[in-house]
Symmetry: C2
Amino acid sequence: MRKKYLLAPGPTPVPESALLAMAQPIIHHRTPQFSEVFRETAELLKYVFQTRQDVLILAASGTGAMEGSVTNLFSPGDEVITVNGGKFGERWTKISEAYGLKAHEIKVEWGKAVDTREVTRLLDANPKIKGVMVQASETSTTAAHPVKEIAELTKGRDCLLIVDGITAVGVFDLSMDDCGIDVLVSGSQKAFMLPPGLAFAALSERAWKFQETAKCPRFYFDFKKERKNLKDNTTAYTPAVSLITGLREALKLIKEEGLENVFKRHDRLARATRAATAALGLKALAPESPSNAATGVFVPEGVDGGKLVKYLRDEVGVTMAGGQDHLKGKILRIAHLGYVDTFDIIIAIASIEMAFNKFGHKVRYGKGVGAAQEILSEGYK
Amino acid sequence: MRKKYLLAPGPTPVPESALLAMAQPIIHHRTPQFSEVFRETAELLKYVFQTRQDVLILAASGTGAMEGSVTNLFSPGDEVITVNGGKFGERWTKISEAYGLKAHEIKVEWGKAVDTREVTRLLDANPKIKGVMVQASETSTTAAHPVKEIAELTKGRDCLLIVDGITAVGVFDLSMDDCGIDVLVSGSQKAFMLPPGLAFAALSERAWKFQETAKCPRFYFDFKKERKNLKDNTTAYTPAVSLITGLREALKLIKEEGLENVFKRHDRLARATRAATAALGLKALAPESPSNAATGVFVPEGVDGGKLVKYLRDEVGVTMAGGQDHLKGKILRIAHLGYVDTFDIIIAIASIEMAFNKFGHKVRYGKGVGAAQEILSEGYK
């Protein structure tokens, strides 16, 4: 018998109440019964997105909502800024180019946050730029970009701020309306504590204005059609009924805990993880601007990161993530978003200590765990 | 206490083994554990699609696979034939036009099958036509189109046959390879006995050739990228893990029953439903070319179809479908695809008899049920 633990930055663990809701016999989607589930879910989503705007629910991965954000707001030839500080930032550029936009790409070293002066410089030099696309939390590097500061730059211009909040919404404070974010997208398998399969997108009034004249072709991801259907408590195409039913349960948990407390919990878990990895002498991948969604650290010299992740998963039963692209085999990403609490962090750190000793990188047992405990104990009276 | 029964043409009931598989704790998608689930699922899908080709698995509704079939195979300006014999046929036209194709639309009266002579005439008159798009089973009218005959027309030309098999694959024999279908798409919430959220697409060698030069923009629905990832037992973007885990269980049930027997069961249930509704004096919507997925009948004069569907669902607990667009309130659609057996048809017909009497349309109890039983009894030794 070996118990399994999931501590990767998506999919994240699913609470039992959501799992059981999804195991209920399926109901038809064009019924008052499902409309009521949908209505309640859509309302709770606005709470988590911190917006008065509608939050569209799409049957897709998060990338679908990213694509829709491009095709529903822009036309071929439009100029945009894309912030490429990792695997997902790169995706903004690729989507933009696939639809004929001209992307001014800001390349950011993996692990760093974008320098807002560079955004200002590009905006000033290219007054035709109509959008800035950025990750609030770049999952591949565990760095956070300064979205609030960028919003200050786009607010006064005829330029939208489009934010991939896939590992940010429900993790840390990113109030769409208060910040001035024009499009905020997310996905079900992150802080929403659900299996993958749902993507979300919310648009500001200003973004809806852009939508009216945007000429990129689109059909399945048609935000205007989705908004119209949302008013009738449904979606344009067949909704992923079971996932939405599970989502309602997960959102109820978030509402019950209170968003403020959810943010505090994530912050506590993130700080504990950082303290623990530092105590173990591990170099952080994003020390200056770490995201509260996950913590990326370089594995010690002489340890093969790929083998480490595999050993932790297959032998110890603890699934974390390794690195992507040029960071493959070099880093370990410990996620702490979603249905995660104190003892998940204890498990993560304890398992790393044990694996390190197995791999010949000697560390004192309890050293990282102790450092985590110091911070985790804040969460108790 | 009121037991609930789902007899709508999607979503269809989900077998208990699939529901329970989806209620398991979520596993990470980039692991050998999930790769094995994916590999087995992809292999079983080929069996149900009756093809040697890969079957792509997308996190989307069926419409997403329809859109991908257009954008991955054609370029703006390309000429195609779309067969519009209902709500879903109309969608082929809308998608084609959204991406700048020139659609020669064949309008077919709702409930009828397309006349293949009309397809021939258009193909002969417009030699530049590169594709024919049609439904194998038009869910909105419960009519089947003559796909095999159309395949005979497209085979010898430089023209693809693209088939929406959303309520056809796994319902009746539609061997992709043997017929010469170039693209076959389907969705999880039909004969695949799963909740909505997955779309499927399989392409012939010829279709993959078209893909090489197709210039429509696309990103999320990128078939080439999906095929590449499929070889590694994964998807291009985060797969809908729980749905795929459930799909494996549902496909195992199909494999165990045997596709031949699955087709026979659907045929028996369909014939029983037709015999029962005829015995009740109900006029069929698609008498000449009925689909084995569902049976559409006109509600008797003086009965409000909308109220009938609502009464059956809310008071009796049996969910069937009404009509769409101009057939709204006029028809009843009784589905018999997926996880459906003898006594589901008995329930459907008995509940209709009871509702009719309540609505003042007097019928002799057991008249329709008896007619169904005559045929349903064929299924037993």
